[in-house]
């Protein structure tokens, strides 16, 4: 369980996150949804302390995230983001095996873990393990990114628009694959996106953010049925409106 309590981040004059509180249940997938600049990425990065909050508290399984040193904290949390950030001087296998290497796993254990993870993200190990990340497609690169984040079996994943730069087909299959993975391993996930459809399809619950605050936090169904205000109502109606337009086009 992840708990944020009155978390605030102020950059010089701007308030990026404003007294934000929320709870993520164990095994839950919570989507942080909002337009760019609403504070969703900042919120996410404060959880693994890539950003330190100005005030407030963050608890992971009831322990404050500042109680352990930052390196130990980060090693227990998987982190995937749009930029992927594969190490271009290392092979695919070495990229995936880097966290186990930091944790001093034996070569043999690391090797079998890398193969296991490559299978998990549907990249045949024999074909991909020794390849250079730069030679992979965007979708394949992010599969490696996900595998790398899963390497030492974190029970929390932080995902920052991980599939935002991928083409729709690839995005769709990676979304489905991730849903399988997190169910299989019961991974608590916070998933940042600005894409309404993605939020509705993936989230157990969605927190709609604007100007550093959570406007409403609810299941997709509840958000669609009972939007708390006009802004959310308008936001929720966009996927449906698009679907209607598409249907109309198809029937012409």
């Amino acid at each position: 369980m992840i708990t944020l309590e009155q978390v605030t981040k102020i950059y010089e004059q701007t308030v990026a996150v404003d007294h934000l509180s929320l709870e993520v249940q164990s095994g839950e997938l919570l989507v942080l949804l909002g337009t760019s600049g609403c504070g969703k990425t900042t919120t996410l990065k404060m959880i693994n302390r890539l950003i330190e909050p100005t005030s407030g508290h963050i608890y992971i399984d009831e322990q404050e995230n500042t109680s352990k040193d930052v390196v130990t904290l980060r090693r227990s949390i998987g982190y995937v983001f749009q930029g992927i950030g594969l190490f271009t001087h290392l092979s695919v296998g070495e990229n995936i095996g880097i966290a186990p290497k930091l944790a001093d796993w034996s070569d043999e254990k690391r090797r079998s873990r890398v193969n296991e993870l490559l299978e998990l993200v549907h990249l045949p190990p024999e074909e991909f393990r020794e390849r250079n990340p730069a030679d992979l497609s965007g979708g394949q690169q992010q599969r490696v990114g996900v595998a790398r984040a899963l390497a030492i079996q974190p029970n929390i994943m932080l995902m920052d628009e991980p599939f935002g730069a991928l083409d729709p087909l690839t995005r769709d299959s990676l979304q489905q694959e991730y849903l399988d993975i997190r169910k299989r391993f019961d991974i608590t996930t916070i998933f940042v996106t600005h894409d309404m459809t993605e939020a509705l399809l993936l989230g157990d619950r969605i927190a709609v953010m604007d100007a550093g605050k959570v406007l409403q936090i609810d299941t997709p169904g509840e958000l669609l049925r009972n939007p708390a205000n006009e802004y959310i109502e308008k936001l929720m109606s966009t996927p449906k409106k698009q679907a209607d337009q598409l249907e109309k086009l198809a029937n012409e």
Binding site: L50, I84, R148
Partner: protein
């Protein structure tokens, strides 16, 4: 011996010295620059000052940076050369380290932090490996620079391929100049190629190529360690280091002194050629060389320029002798018998036509004539005094390298030059030395100086004293001509001088 094989003979010594200077300077350069570069990327405030200092060093001309090390460190030889070359190697490596680290994709850094790397793991496992190709590219630039600038370490007393070039320029030995230039260029190309192979090996993650390059370096390092270091076998007795300045006469005299001391005292000897004027005296005074030949007027200007210079050469020499002995414990042990003074010279036939015998005569015609001299001369007090005392107004003046002056006057490009009285080309080109009735040019008696430590060696002192009066100006001019015009080697001329001299038997 052919001209080529004569030069080839020096190659192990010069190339070995050059390689050692280059490799050590580059290694130390890397050891300093890379950590400094890392610090610069960590502390933004320091970055501009670190890069600023390195850039300023880079703007100092190579020769000046090398020369300034001698008085700063009060020593000559490999150490000042290494320090200057190392300083010179810093900027490209430093700048590329900073750029290489800074230009790494921010996403990659964030991924490393997100995985839970510590700062040092991030540096070791991500930042340095990714910046390495850029750092190596900087090393490549440094290597080419350092190989080139290392040729300038000759005048501070470190052996390098520059010995070919400096000696070759002075004795107009084109083969030597060519040899030095080609060897330095080949060395630069080889190092550049090897580092380039390493760069590509790293960039494309080709182990084979990297190993090939590392193997190449291993060979070069082994060569650097062994090449030309076997020559200084001690004969059990003390080795006498004979200093010399970079011109023909000095090449002959150092070789002569070397042969003389070997024969006379069975000492082993080592010639340290091509030292700058002040460098040579500083080296002697701090016991880094044992013996060298200098000129009374030069020494006076260096040490006593504030006092009025006596016009009588013997008075001057006596004052100088007392002063150097008292101040530096440096004895002047022998006056060789010739003077190598500055003089004004012109084509013999022109002097005859215009009826010019002295500088006084010259002043009447100067407004029609062009004066040529080496760059140094126009900055010397003699030039100012000359113009004042004789009221000289030339049509034009041209500064040029000392080597080229004689050709220039011979060919009529200039009419009057600042010559040296013992230069072989004065006779060979039929030049007329003009009298100096007002004694503007000070006396330049050639004298042998001994270091403070060696002044306590009576055998050495006695042997050197015996050289008093042994070399006349005519003899010296003839020997200079043999090297400059007849292309004999300074060694053979020095040897011939020794063979021709007769000494009274030892008591």
């Amino acid at each position: 011996m052919s001209a080529f094989s004569e030069q080839l003979h020096y190659l192990p010594d010069y190339l070995g010295g050059h390689l050692r200077l280059t490799l050590i300077a580059l290694s130390v350069g890397v050891i300093i620059s890379v950590p400094l570069g890392i610090i610069a990327t960590r502390f933004k405030k320091l970055e501009s000052s670190i890069l600023g200092v390195a850039s300023v060093i880079q703007t100092i001309p190579g020769l000046a940076l090398l020369a300034i090390m001698v008085p700063l460190l009060n020593m000559i030889g490999i150490i000042p050369a290494l320090i200057a070359l190392t300083l010179y190697s810093l900027l490209p490596i430093l700048r590329n380290t900073v750029v290489g680290i800074r230009e790494i994709d921010a996403d990659i850094i964030q991924a490393g932090q997100g995985i839970g790397m510590t700062d040092s793991q991030l540096l070791r496992m991500v930042q340095l490996p990714l910046a390495l190709p850029v750092i190596v590219a900087g090393l490549r630039t440094s290597a080419v620079w350092v190989v080139g600038i290392a040729t300038l370490s000759t005048p501070v007393g470190a052996v390098s391929l520059g010995n070919y070039i400096f000696s070759g320029l002075q004795t107009r030995n084109n083969m030597a100049i060519l040899f030095g230039c080609v060897a330095a260029a080949v060395l630069a190309l080889v190092l550049d190629g090897l580092i380039h192979a390493l760069e590509i090996g790293i960039q494309e993650r080709k182990r084979g190529r990297s190993f090939l390059s590392i193997g190449g370096f291993a060979v070069i390092i082994i060569v650097a360690i062994f090449l030309g270091t076997g020559g200084n076998k001690s004969l059990g007795k003390q080795t006498i280091r004979i200093g010399g300045k970079p011109f023909t006469e000095q090449y002959i005299l150092t070789n002569f002194l070397s042969d003389y001391l070997r024969k006379e005292l069975e000492y082993s000897t080592k010639i340290v050629p091509n030292l700058g004027s002040t460098v040579a005296f500083d080296a002697l005074e701090s016991n880094q060389i044992d013996v060298y030949v200098d000129y009374s007027g030069t020494l006076w200007n260096m040490h006593l320029k504030d006092r009025k210079m006596p016009t009588n050469p013997d008075t001057l020499l006596q004052n100088l002798k007392n002063y150097l002995k008292q101040k530096y414990q440096v004895p002047i042990v022998a006056k060789l018998g010739f003077e190598n003074a500055y003089c004004l010279a012109m084509r013999g036939e022109q002097a005859k036509k215009l009826n010019i015998n002295s500088i006084t005569d010259l002043s009447r015609h100067a407004s029609q004539l062009v004066m040529g001299a080496d760059v140094e001369f126009f900055g010397r007090p003699e030039w100012t005094r000359l113009k004042r005392e004789y009221n000289l107004q030339f049509k034009n003046t041209r500064a040029m390298d000392a080597v080229l002056m004689y050709e220039a006057v011979k060919n009529g490009n200039v009419d009057v030059i600042s010559a040296y009285t013992t230069d072989g080309r004065i006779n060979a080109y039929n030049l007329k030395i003009l009298d100096d009735p007002r004694h503007v040019f000070p006396p330049y008696d050639a004298v042998v100086l001994v270091s403070p430590e060696d002044s306590k060696n009576p055998q050495l002192m006695t042997s050197l004293e015996k050289l008093t009066g042994k070399i006349s100006a005519n003899l010296m001019r003839k020997m200079n001509m043999e090297v400059d015009i007849q292309r004999k080697s300074p060694q053979s001329v020095g040897q011939a001088l020794l063979d021709s001299l007769e000494f009274k038997p030892n008591n």
